[in-house]
Symmetry: C2
């Protein structure tokens, strides 16, 4: 705890750039969508403390900016008062409490006990449950049976259920896990003690049940990758990126200007970077593209019915963001190049007091050596190199690291990319290797539900599904979603029997806008402004172009899939609602799937020529391989918002050849 | 014409790198898979001239290295004689002649007249047909009707048919086209004179038919993008990539060493860069991955049944490579960064004499600022930046520019990327804009088969399909293709109803290996060596991971689709045959689809535990947009070969944090 003055979005200037001035962000917010500042967290703290409602032991699990209604934000002008509210989630003796605080006026607006939901899990719950489990005689006995009497390197963990997994969860904050033995290693990933399952009540910190299936030795797979970098391999000559007179972007508060792009961003404790008011400065006027964009949720179901594995389904952002925050530190040279500037973020700790997280985002111009456009003919090779502005954060949720990019390109593209790296979850098995399955993951073998990555160590099959919330506002608030289907047409032509034609049609309701990718039935996903025509008579628009992605293979009525139901379709479109932010709902822990995208869209609301929000599912299945061990190379997936009849012509022609 | 000494693969060193030595490539080949050298082209020229078989007017359409049988190449050692043959295609009075020349021994091995095929089109045919058309009274009359009497800026073009489009093609070299009027512009793209179609006999240089459908004015859409760069927009600060002590790769002849990668490449006049003998240097021994990889063919069908459009279907490499060669110049800063080295190529002209094409490939290390791997936990953020070695060429086939990359990554990935840019093909229409279709491409409107990109100018719908030939040799020649299907399994578990499991199965025959992408039926495409097991008991392997791609929507029995039939599936696997190189066959012009991937695989040959070749189809549909005019931003597509149980663990852990 500390009461030193705090700054939000403090720019860490690693590169001395004498010609550029970065504004120090003020302690008070300059815009209604700015992140909560240190003083604001303290104001919220004071309002709650002075409300008379806080009791000893009431924990703060979440303090988030409650965004003002969109019309208020759009009407706001610099100099106007900045209206500020905060959503607070508290936890008191297993009961979740929602509080809404008027920050600017230091007033508690509402206070509501919610017995039907579970607050996100806290770091202190993990610690207290660890202690409780390690004191339980049944656990001590089970460990002793395995020859483990030194409990210093042992920790016991219990994860919340990200879905309503068992009837007994009703009204109880129950978690399930086991123990790990980190003896001999730095980190305990892969050191699960197999065959031991512990069920706990997280409110009473009581062990409810210990299941011991018998002894399988803890994996001894080598994992000390951390020390290898001390003596790195040689033979790599230096490569340097430099910008001798500084970057081309300007930062003013939380607003970024770069080439013809303008956008704001804040670093939210739950979903990470939130992009706001992104658009194009076009001949002196600002043209909106994206009112708001963020990763909304993250669904990671594992695919093993074994003890301690059937329940491994994570709705990562919603379950775990209260353990610090979703974003973690990024590192110069590793995550971000030397021409980056860095940003800190602030979140509330378990007492509601602000904590600075240094260097959790970077912003840089990237030039990979690629062309942006080119044509060669006759004597002329025209073109120019491609430069991209990257806003990068990294979400680290336990074992996995996700590199999360918003990449602004000069041709008007906005690319969203996810790089998955970090450590896979593994299961210790008795078999040493894949000999028993003849190397082919056969049924009944130790690698039936995964793949050996080291001796006695199986990386378990799983999925990753991200839901991106994209409040698209092309040239204004009212937009339509217009899928353009490519449909085969038979011809009576002496030379051709068939062609395809593009058939655009405007989706009237949410159900018409649920899109699945089929190669044999291709469609393009256009977001248009039916009220604004470009010079050629088409509505101005942006297209959402999917990258490689995946659809969930689970039963729709399976518990996990009801909460991760956004993974059923690759695209959803909803009308804008101020409180629809999280694709799996606000409270995924023990959820029955009664909140979120699949629930909201059941009423099949109209979405034509109104304020609409797109939800893109970026997913991939993961069968692990030896090369994912002990830490994975980054695997990237992305999608693109690209202008489609937004500009009257290619907007990059006037760029110099040099990137 | 010139008889100065020529060098092959001359390295243009733009960056002074005192510590590195780039070998000057010798005039004689150093390896059986090296490109034909200047002296070798002359040897072939002499053998043909002295054979007594060449007649006045016999044109050389193609001189390509005839690759030695694979077993001979693999058995070859430095110091052994380099066995060299060349395939020559000649054209004499409409008759195609195939000659095989023993280059090293200066001997004509075979000479065969082929009346059933058409040689690739020559630049001189274009010129002579242009002249013939512009002299034809019917053409002159049709132009006059349109007010065009100044024929200096007019050129008339005729393209070959890339498939057997009409019965009258039988035994004749017939082409079809029209005229363009480049008055007022630098290049004639978009300046088609609409409504005028000319059919010609390319052998006799005779106009066979002139169809005049009536007058539509030539598009006047602005296209002078070439001059814009003279006064580029300001506001972009410099960004520099530098390697002060030079790149980390070494080049010895046509062999490249970089980190643990080793490979050779040559620049082939028909298919461009051919990668050979790519593999990993692993603890002192070379482990093969890819015996050979190249873009094999390129199929671009347009989707408009109109006059002069129904026939626009291009099998680009096979039809047009004789007009110079497929690859064209790349430019520093635009196509390749400042730390690149450049390579020339050599092809034969229409007399069989060698021509140097300067600077058609570049090789560079790319660092975009991205992480290669990372994990953050506790006090440590481990990881390292990602550096990639890129071999880049650009194929320019008329209007389109394709940037073709082979990207070697340090984690063992080999990424193949295609960037499409250049100029779209447009059709002039009477309607000024999309008002008549209410902006929605309605049936019967001018934009029914495309999209307005400028006034009176419609970019016509089309597809791009690339077939990549990948002779994968994981740890040796004999491999198997093992699709791993992810299949849902119902569970009887109190907590879960369903999971998926991975079900690998070895494909026994070509038909079992025809793969289509379905999100609801996902599969992973593994190429394994069943004879080599990794330390965990799995066969060593590489996985082919598709990127976003497309499948053809055309009727399988449609003429164009029979020639571009490789686009029916996203993956094919064949047994290695020395002469199966081109996915649409050797002679696509006027082809009935009787050669190529779809034909070879009809016999459903066995492919298990033998020398196999993978054929990946990279495709995309293209509906044009205003931003594609007058020249397109680059759109990238890619796929990856990635190690799957090839290494015992992640091979990049020992890299230093700095990229």
């Amino acid at each position: 705890m500390s009461s030193h003055p705090r700054t939000l979005l403090r720019v860490v200037l690693l590169l001395v750039t004498p010609t550029l001035l970065f504004a120090q962000t003020p302690a008070a917010p300059a815009h209604p969508l700015d992140a909560l500042t240190g003083p604001e967290y303290w104001a919220i703290y004071d309002v709650l403390r002075d409300s008379g409602k806080m009791q000893p032991g009431t924990m703060t699990t979440s303090v988030l900016l409650h965004e003002p209604a969109k019309d208020k934000v759009l009407a706001w002008k610099p100099g106007d008062p900045v209206f500020r509210e905060a959503d607070v989630i508290l936890l008191h003796k297993g009961v979740t409490i929602e509080a809404l605080v008027d920050v600017a006026n230091r007033k508690l607006e509402s206070w509501k006990e919610r017995k039907d939901v579970q607050a996100p899990v806290l770091e202190s719950e993990f610690h207290e449950l660890d202690e409780a489990m390690k004191k339980d005689p049944r656990v001590i006995e089970a460990l002793k049976k395995r020859g483990i009497v030194d409990l210093a390197p042992v920790s016991c963990f219990a994860d919340p259920f990200s879905y309503f997994a068992l009837p007994e969860l009703e009204g109880h904050r129950i978690m399930m896990g086991g123990c790990v033995n980190a003896h001999g290693v730095y980190l305990s990933w892969s050191r699960d003690i197999p065959g031991l399952q512990i069920k706990v009540d997280a409110t009473d910190k009581k062990v409810l049940q210990v299941v011991d299936e018998g002894i399988t030795p803890v994996s001894q797979a080598p994992v000390n990758y951390q020390e290898l970098a001390l003596a790195p391999r040689t033979g790599t000559t230096p490569i340097d990126i430099s910008q001798p007179i500084g970057p081309s972007f300007q930062i003013k508060g939380s607003e970024v200007s770069w080439q013809n792009w303008r956008f704001r961003f804040r670093l939210d404790p739950r979903v990470g970077a939130i992009i706001n008011l992104a658009g194009i400065q076009d001949s002196g006027r600002f043209r909106s593209v994206l009112y708001e964009g963020s990763m909304s949720e993250l669904y990671v179901p594992y695919m093993d019915p074994a003890l301690n594995w059937a329940n491994r389904v994570f709705i990562d952002a919603g379950e775990f963001y209260a353990t610090g925050q979703t974003l973690k530190r990024v590192r110069a040279d590793v995550d971000c190049p030397s021409n980056s500037v860095y940003f800190d973020s602030v979140s509330a700790d378990e007492h509601g007091m602000p904590v600075i997280h240094p260097q959790v985002a970077c912003l840089f111009e990237s030039y990979a050596g690629d062309p942006g456009w080119r044509h060669f003919e006759g004597h002329q090779l025209s073109g120019s190199g491609a430069r991209v502005l990257v806003l990068r954060t990294a979400a680290v949720i336990g074992n996995y690291d996700y590199v999360l990019d918003w990449r602004f390109e000069r041709d008007g593209n906005l690319r969203v990319a996810v790089g998955a790296t970090g450590i896979i979850e593994t299961k210790a098995v008795k078999a040493k290797d894949a000999s028993e399955s003849s190397g082919h993951n056969t049924a009944g073998a130790s690698d039936e539900f995964g793949h050996f990555v080291a001796e006695n160590t199986v990386g378990v099959n799983h999925d990753h599904f991200f839901s991106y919330r994209l409040d698209i506002d092309v040239d204004g608030v009212n937009n339509s979603f217009m899928p353009m289907r490519l449909v085969k047409r038979e011809l009576k032509n002496p030379m051709r029997k068939s062609i395809w034609v593009a058939e655009p049609s405007v989706a009237r309701t949410e159900k018409e806008a649920m899109m699945d990718i089929h190669l044999e039935k291709p469609s393009m996903w256009h977001f248009i402004n039916p009220n604004v025509k470009g010079p050629l008579g088409y509505p101005t628009g942006y297209e959402l172009m999917p990258g490689t992605t995946a659809a969930s293979l689970l039963d729709p009525d399976d518990g996990p899939q009801k909460v991760g139901a956004f993974s059923t379709h690759q695209l959803w479109v909803t009308p804008y609602k101020r409180d629809e932010f999280y694709a799996s709902g606000i409270y995924p822990i023990e959820s029955k799937g009664d909140d979120g995208l699949a629930v909201w869209t059941k009423s099949n609301r109209p979405i034509e020529n109104t304020d609409i929000v797109a939800w893109y599912t970026l997913g991939f299945h993961h069968v692990t391989r030896a090369e994912d061990w002990p830490v994975m190379p980054v695997m990237w997936h992305d999608f693109v918002l690209r202008p489609f009849d937004f500009f009257p012509e290619n907007p990059v022609l006037t760029l110099p050849p040099k990137p």
